[in-house]
Symmetry: D2
Subunit: 345 residues, 4 copies
């Protein structure tokens, strides 16, 4: 582990994800914050926009995205809208910089899906081939050798960790995987108040949205296939929780033959042996989001009805932690050869 420090920049540091990157960087002595940008706060001091971090970063000032992209940093986190990432990633890679892109721009390989779900023309084929989809517990080696990480979506992170853990048994599925996920409101995007996200709209309310039509569904499918070789049909329904942070995904599996809970538990344990951030809960424990809030952890639980051939996986993460900024830091640690849990909890 190197003890040198590295300079990092955050393009797009005013939204929830950018703010969470800053929160983690406060505790990461090896990453020095060199530049931040925002399209709405250009010229303001960081501490005036995010008062809780004024102490950690007393002198940092927001620049424009373009200016920040020219900064003398070793690594750039992009917590930007898709259009901005599509433009800045090639620019930064051409400058020889390391990039962790937290937008959705480079997560999908399939051009048609990208067009369908993101309403944007597909980015460069070359960059898609080049990017590593960054889930360190699954493809940490590739991440460590890459300069360009596409940081996974919040929903896919927990779901892929759960399904990868039991990948051996996926060929026994008798029906598609049903993924019923629930997210806190900070997962819904940027900082601007959007219609439907006002306090009175969300408080004391719970709803399903984008039923069978969310952009994270093809992302889950593609990377589950890439990681396991299994072509698993899966369906996804997200829901919006009246709370700020946390995702719980309930994953329903129906098998062609009886499955053994202890076997599934063993598969998961072995898949993540030695991994600092993935934890299989003890039998009977309930996965709950509060236990992973403000952390980079993922807790998994599996419950099996052997006679009925049903297994239910539950996975919890902090959508801003393991589902975004925490995992981005973890990826960055690997890219610099630092211990992957450095500065994380």
């Amino acid at each position: 582990m190197s003890q040198d420090s590295y300079s990092v920049a955050i393009i797009g540091a005013s939204g929830y994800t950018g703010q969470e990157l800053l929160r983690y960087l406060q505790f990461h002595p090896l990453f020095q914050l060199n530049a931040i940008s925002s399209d709405v706060h250009t010229g303001k001091k960081l501490g005036d926009v995010h008062p809780s971090m004024q102490k950690a970063f007393p002198d940092v000032v927001f620049s424009s995205h373009g200016e920040a992209a020219e900064a003398q940093a070793d690594l750039f986190f992009l917590a930007t809208p898709n259009e901005v990432s599509l433009e800045l990633v090639p620019f930064l890679l051409d400058r020889g910089k390391k990039v962790v892109d937290l937008s959705g721009s480079y997560r999908l390989s399939d051009k048609k899906n990208f067009q369908k779900y993101y309403k944007l023309d597909h980015p460069s084929d070359e960059l898609i081939r080049k990017r590593v989809y960054g889930i360190p517990e699954i493809n940490g080696d590739k991440i460590a050798r890459s300069n360009f990480i596409s940081n996974p979506g919040c929903y896919p992170t927990g779901v892929l960790l759960a399904l990868y853990g039991i990948r051996e048994i996926l060929p026994l599925l008798a029906s598609p995987v049903m993924i019923d996920a629930k997210s806190g409101t900070s997962g819904a995007g940027g900082r601007v108040s959007a219609p439907g996200f006002g306090y009175v709209d969300v408080n004391e309310n719970f709803k399903a949205y984008k039923i069978l039509n969310h952009q994270h569904e093809p992302e889950m499918w593609e990377h589950l296939h890439a990681f396991t070789g299994h072509n698993v049909e899966l369906h996804f329904v997200p829901h919006l929780l009246p709370m700020t942070r946390g995702i719980l995904s309930t994953i329903w599996l129906y098998f062609r033959e009886s499955v053994d809970e202890s076997a599934l538990r063993r598969m998961i344990s072995e898949s993540y042996a030695g991994q600092p951030f993935v934890r299989l809960l003890a039998p009977g424990e309930n996965a709950m989001t509060a236990n992973v809030s403000y952390t980079n952890q993922c807790h998994l639980q599996v419950t099996v009805d052997e006679n009925r051939r049903i297994a239910v996986l539950t996975a919890v993460i902090d959508n801003l932690g393991k589902g975004a900024a925490g995992q981005a830091i973890q990826n960055a640690n690997l890219m610099f050869g630092i211990a992957e849990d450095f500065g994380l909890c």
Copy 2:
């Protein structure tokens, strides 16, 4: 419609369900509240325990359960623990009274299931044969002729309304029905602070619990079978929401052949034509709990991916309204020959 008034009593009027019955009765001019009971508030004035209702019921005082059971009322709502209902229902029926039991005591026909899930000896076979399981939109005629209604559980109410609406197509299922339900905290039972239900425990938290092991699962199965004749395998996972009231159930269906969304919409519409409390949402609308809060309504939505042979039903109710007290009033209206929506919204 009769314009006479009827006297009613509530046994167990200090918990959330009893309190909600009182809230509805404030607006029901034909039901006169004659007696209420509580095991913890005996002797206190109603307005001292539920201050918001002091105006509506200035003179009502809590008696003991036993005393209230002797009251001169035409109908008794029992919002009591299972043990108390098991004891009081036969007593009240012997007195020739009408009873709506909101406990779980008479919902299940199967003795083994009752023992397994409620840890109690099975109640009288005769009473189980006699009771009508009260979902007015499905078996309103039987309710109108009965003196003894077992008021359905909160989770089963929304789920049964959804599945009954598409009962024609149930034979085409290719796999078990997966029911992923989420409830506000007031569904969790009585008024006493239980471990795990403290404010700090629940706020900013979301969890799954009793995975594949909740007492409402056999209740759903039994009555879906009774109502439709179809023996449908179904599995149930409940979750606890950081909010007070509301249930959303997401019901996953996988078919052997392609299904047509418009056909499913038509089935639901026809099933509930003229029903005042069940509403099929327009295509694209999201079911959300706030739209049914403090009402006796159930909103249903169905989304189909025809190629993938998947349908997702979402059903929302207020767990204290259509999921408990509202439905109890609706049942009581029918039992007296009053319009079923009298005093309800």
Copy 3:
């Protein structure tokens, strides 16, 4: 009490206050809803905008404000922006209609204060002289004889009820009255998501705002003076609570000589003897907003430290109930000679 029914219209029925008026009207058999308007929902059915009320008002459609103002209704509730009320009130009064204006337009008599706090030119002097400021417990007789009620602000309602209750002792004040009030988010205005009112902004947050600079301060001063004859200096700091509805005002009083708690309790009791909606809590009870949620009630508490010559009044109301729509209905009842608590709880 007349048993005729009256037709009413709501101008501005899409915001929180308009929606709450509708909620109350569901249970008010003597008021028939004749027209509603909205500037954003014109042409839509009421049930599509407020789904929980589709049952109560199946056929009502939003018209434009102008169209609704021409409706054949006996009474018009205006839950409109100040500019709209300023324009429509004279029009409706000229048509010979009864008006309850829930905006701030006619609450202040002082032109300079109106300009300072509302940034609008002062409305007609004649209408200000004509309007009755509607707190039924204080000036119910005037309300009953008036055609034009200015419905009080949410903060002033609770504060004025508290201070009016102890008006005899106000001359003994040794320092200004300090009013520290806390409101749920639905008090903040219309339905549109405003900056600072997004879910993530408000949840798990609490803040003071408009310190010593809120438009309700001169409203409190003016009407306390008008109601009691006492010119009492008072200061006001509002705060925003992470919840939807409810206001608690803590009112600090410091006296020149020792005061007697029982005397203050007696003053309050006598001030509101026989009033259905104002309740003095028993000694030691804590005023709490949940006890008045979804009601038109106001709960008052007074705590005195006799040696230290300090009294603390706490007043709770539902800002949408007694603080807006409930009180508007109560005023309307009086204007028609109906019992003032008709349709209210």
Copy 4:
């Protein structure tokens, strides 16, 4: 600054405060956690009780309080009930250990007040003389030389920082100081669900409690007097917020003569020049709790109406941070000669 590391123990590590101490210690490389205790979790692994910290403290096991008090640690944090602290503090000091007591046991000098508010006999006079009341921004030098810190109450911390900041002007007060404070629910004490603190009780509710009768009032008075020499009459009303963490105190001041806002701002700025954790907000900024959540910061704001001779101070802290565990770490840093902001944000 020493780069040695120190071993610390936490007696009482299962409540909210103990848990927050652990959360901070995760990021404090110089403090090594040596022992933790709990009366309910003895024998369990830390990670099983506080799953989010399993990674940071994989091997730590809860012992009994008595056992932990014998541990080989340099410093002991006591997050224990008052009775336990009264017993363990003398034991630990006799062993020559450094102690930071987070209970209320040693905060008050006055025996009668201690008896009145805590219902306990007064602790040793000698220990009261010996203890330093630990607010580092005010008496950091004494803290650095002490072995025994009484960590301040959550309410007093923010209030004392605010009032100490303007101490020069306190002699001009024309009436008592009115302190209207609002706290999140985690300030209410231990982890056990207490009556009135259930989720449904607190959610969508706001209440005043212990009006003019809270044990933190004499604590504020005593230490304001000790810190400033001014004998200031003050009154205190706390309120309970429907959120987990955060305190905002609104402090009302009425002066005998006109006061100048810029003078008050200058006093505060000078009082805390160079202090890393106290920040005076810019004019017009609203103090809000979310900006200090999960930090050791205190934000102050002052608003003056010069003509009316009124000043309103608002102070926000995280009750678990600067109001408890954060300040305890800050005190411990000083006791070891470490920079006071080490490991804090």
